[in-house]
């Protein structure tokens, strides 16, 4: 009688394990890719030293990075670095890469969280309203919002806001970190595009769902319009929305770089660009690998959450 439950639990466990193995493989491929990219694109020693450096300095760099060892040895060492999360010492900061990374990580997460909250808070209601009032002026307004959101790049938005809110009216601090006011512009600039993509997804899914038989049946049962939309229809929007939010979260970490640079936000993006500028090789490598790992973990959690939320999910994928 309860066989079906036990069976489902088994299926979920198998799914969990498969996803875990996939994530591990992906991480390995990621590490190998970075390793290959670094070694295949030329002698890091030349890249890493400033122009006009002496041969002695280059030899020193090669020695420091262990570039004189055989490739398999280098690879093994690199994998060990990845596994132990120890990427050595940053050239220009003199601190361990890992500690610098984890110092900056909370700032990045704060910014991304605010931006995500903004994009959902704007995108979901606007998407629902746009679908419910399909073809009316509110729908047009929402569609216009979506279009501008998709078309105005975040950094253009950031500079425009900066001009108006900081320079012209002095409402908000131009850059830096500190109070909640410092978060407003970076949050909107980063969340802007994602609000538009959320809006589009919610609108199109909602339109499909609202014309379905089960929504008709909910109305036939005498459910109020509010319950029909929020419980019966929106529940079906939630699943694709979660998967979009997961993808967006990952893209957002990426897009954050430019916003962080503009608003001098001490997150990972600006750290990376700084590292690139300083040719701080261990730091660049560490940030890329650790950010990638973070994204893989996030994807894994999203997959699990997805399986948990959607009763229909095809766990065999």
């Amino acid at each position: 009688m309860f066989g079906i439950y036990i069976q489902r639990r088994k299926v979920i466990r198998a799914y969990f394990l498969r996803r875990l193995v996939y994530s591990a493989i992906t991480l390995f491929v990621l590490a190998t890719t970075i390793f290959g990219l670094v070694r295949l694109t030329g002698d890091p020693a030349i890249l890493l030293t400033p122009e006009g450096a002496t041969e002695l300095e280059r030899v020193q760099i090669r020695e420091d990075l262990g570039l004189n060892d055989a490739l398999p040895v280098q690879f093994a060492r690199f994998i060990r670095e990845v596994v132990t999360l120890d990427f050595g010492t940053s050239f220009h900061l003199g601190q361990s890469v890992t500690s610098v990374y984890f110092d900056r990580l909370p700032n990045s997460i704060l910014l991304v969280t605010v931006a995500m909250a903004f994009s959902l808070a704007l995108g979901i209601p606007a998407g629902i309203i746009s679908a419910v009032y399909n073809g009316r002026w509110m729908d047009f307004a929402a569609k216009g919002l979506a279009l501008t959101g998709m078309s105005i790049p975040g950094f253009v938005m950031a500079l425009t806001m900066m001009f108006f809110f900081s320079v012209k009216f002095s409402w908000l601090p131009t850059f830096g970190i500190g109070t909640w006011k410092h978060l407003v512009m970076p949050g909107i600039a980063l969340g802007w595009y994602f609000a538009a993509s959320t809006l589009r997804l919610v609108r199109s899914t909602m339109l499909d769902v609202l014309s379905s038989d089960y929504v008709k049946l909910a109305r036939l049962k005498g459910m109020t319009e509010q319950r029909v939309i929020m419980r019966h229809a929106f529940a079906n929007v939630l699943i694709p929305l979660i998967s979009l939010t997961g993808v967006n979260f990952v893209v957002m970490i990426n897009a954050a770089t430019i916003v962080e640079v503009i608003f001098v936000w001490p997150g990972l993006g600006s750290l990376l660009l700084e590292a690139v500028g300083e040719r701080d090789f261990p730091l660049v490598q560490g940030i890329v690998v650790m950010s990638g790992t973070l994204i893989i973990i996030t994807n894994f959690l999203i997959d699990l959450f997805y399986a948990w939320v959607d009763p229909r999910i095809r766990l065999t994928r």
Binding site: D213, L220, H232, N236, P311
Partner: protein
């Protein structure tokens, strides 16, 4: 004499498109009434306005469709005079509906318990354990095995027949006086169809609910219904008790429908009605069935036949009622 619970009079529902330049008379002056425990069948080809009629009864028409005339008296009051807000209290409580396709009519992400219990929660004020008990009863009533387990599950875990039985439970949940079943067995397997019809009949006997059964299948009508309305191009063409209609059809369309039902053991080729039903936005002058009718003459093409009483509680709209009856006697 049982109580009359629904009285529909001259109901007309039109679709208007292209800024009112095109009017589709999907339902045109349809009248009928329904008593407690009675089953009325609405028969016709697809596109004759059956589904629009059903949706008019609960006032859930698609945008563009509008009830333009008539009255629907439900339990003594005209629901056409109610606001949409007040209609929310009518739907599910006084009149419920079973839709055609069980694969799409249940919400995929809400569990069965919630979907079945919703109407009882809203309209009958049932809560927590009483509500759960009620859901269990309803699922038992529609013959769902191990209801305690099943009510925690989701529609995708069930077969089509099971889902349609659950749709029945959903309809019964608010204890309505009337259930409209819009071709509820069309998408089911033949063996499951018969089971489902038996179930509906038994449920009707137990609860005394009035059934409006919409179908294109006269075999099902013969099995299920007390009275029949035959619709053609949005209009009633014949109305009467099942026995009379089958024994003595007065409208050539009805007799054509009856002849097109396959008979067991008969080797005769199946009769089929030639031609297509007319375009509802551009109805011909005269009788709308004339172009497909074997006995139509010039008069039929020019003048629309009125719906006249041809016997006790028996109506038909045809100029050739007498001829038709005579030809049948000959045969």
């Amino acid at each position: 004499m049982t109580r009359e619970i629904l009285k529909v009079k001259d109901l007309a529902t039109h679709y208007t498109g292209f800024g009112g330049s095109r009017v589709v008379k999907a339902v045109d002056e349809v009248s009928f009434s329904l008593e407690e425990g009675q089953t009325i069948g609405i028969v016709g080809e697809s596109g004759c306005g059956k589904t629009t009629l059903c949706l008019s009864l609960v006032r859930l028409l698609a945008p563009g469709a509008q009830i333009v005339g008539g009255s629907i008296e439900l339990n003594g009051r005209d629901i056409l005079k109610l606001s949409q807000k007040e209609m929310v209290e009518v739907r599910g409580k006084e009149i419920a509906m079973i839709l055609q396709d069980p694969m799409t009519s249940l919400n995929p992400v809400i569990n069965i318990e919630t979907q079945v219990g919703e109407a009882a929660f809203k309209h009958r004020g049932l809560r927590s354990s009483t509500l759960r008990e009620r859901v269990r009863q309803l699922l038992e009533a529609v013959r769902i095995p191990s209801p305690d387990v099943r009510m925690q599950e989701f529609p995708h875990q069930m077969s089509g027949g099971m889902r349609q039985r659950i749709a029945g439970a959903v309809a019964l949940s608010g204890e309505p006086g009337i259930i409209i079943a819009d071709e509820p067995t069309t998408s089911l397997d033949v063996t499951i169809q018969a089971q489902y019809l038996d179930l509906l009949r038994r449920l009707q006997k137990d609860t005394g609910v009035g059934l409006i059964f919409v179908t294109h299948d006269l075999g099902i009508v013969a099995k299920m219904c007390d009275d029949v309305i035959v619709m053609y191009a949005g209009k009633t063409v014949e109305k009467g008790s099942v026995r009379e209609i089958f024994n003595n059809p007065n409208h050539p369309y009805t007799s054509a429908l009856i002849r097109s039902v396959p008979k067991l053991g008969s080797k005769d080729p199946l009769y089929r009605i030639e031609g297509q039903p007319p375009d509802l936005s551009n109805l011909p002058q005269g009788c709308s069935f004339a172009s497909r009718c074997a006995i139509a003459d010039d008069h039929c093409f020019e003048h629309e036949p009125p719906l006249i009483e041809v016997g006790p509680r028996r109506l038909a709209a045809c100029w050739k009622i007498e001829e038709n009856a005579a030809s049948k006697e000959q045969a």
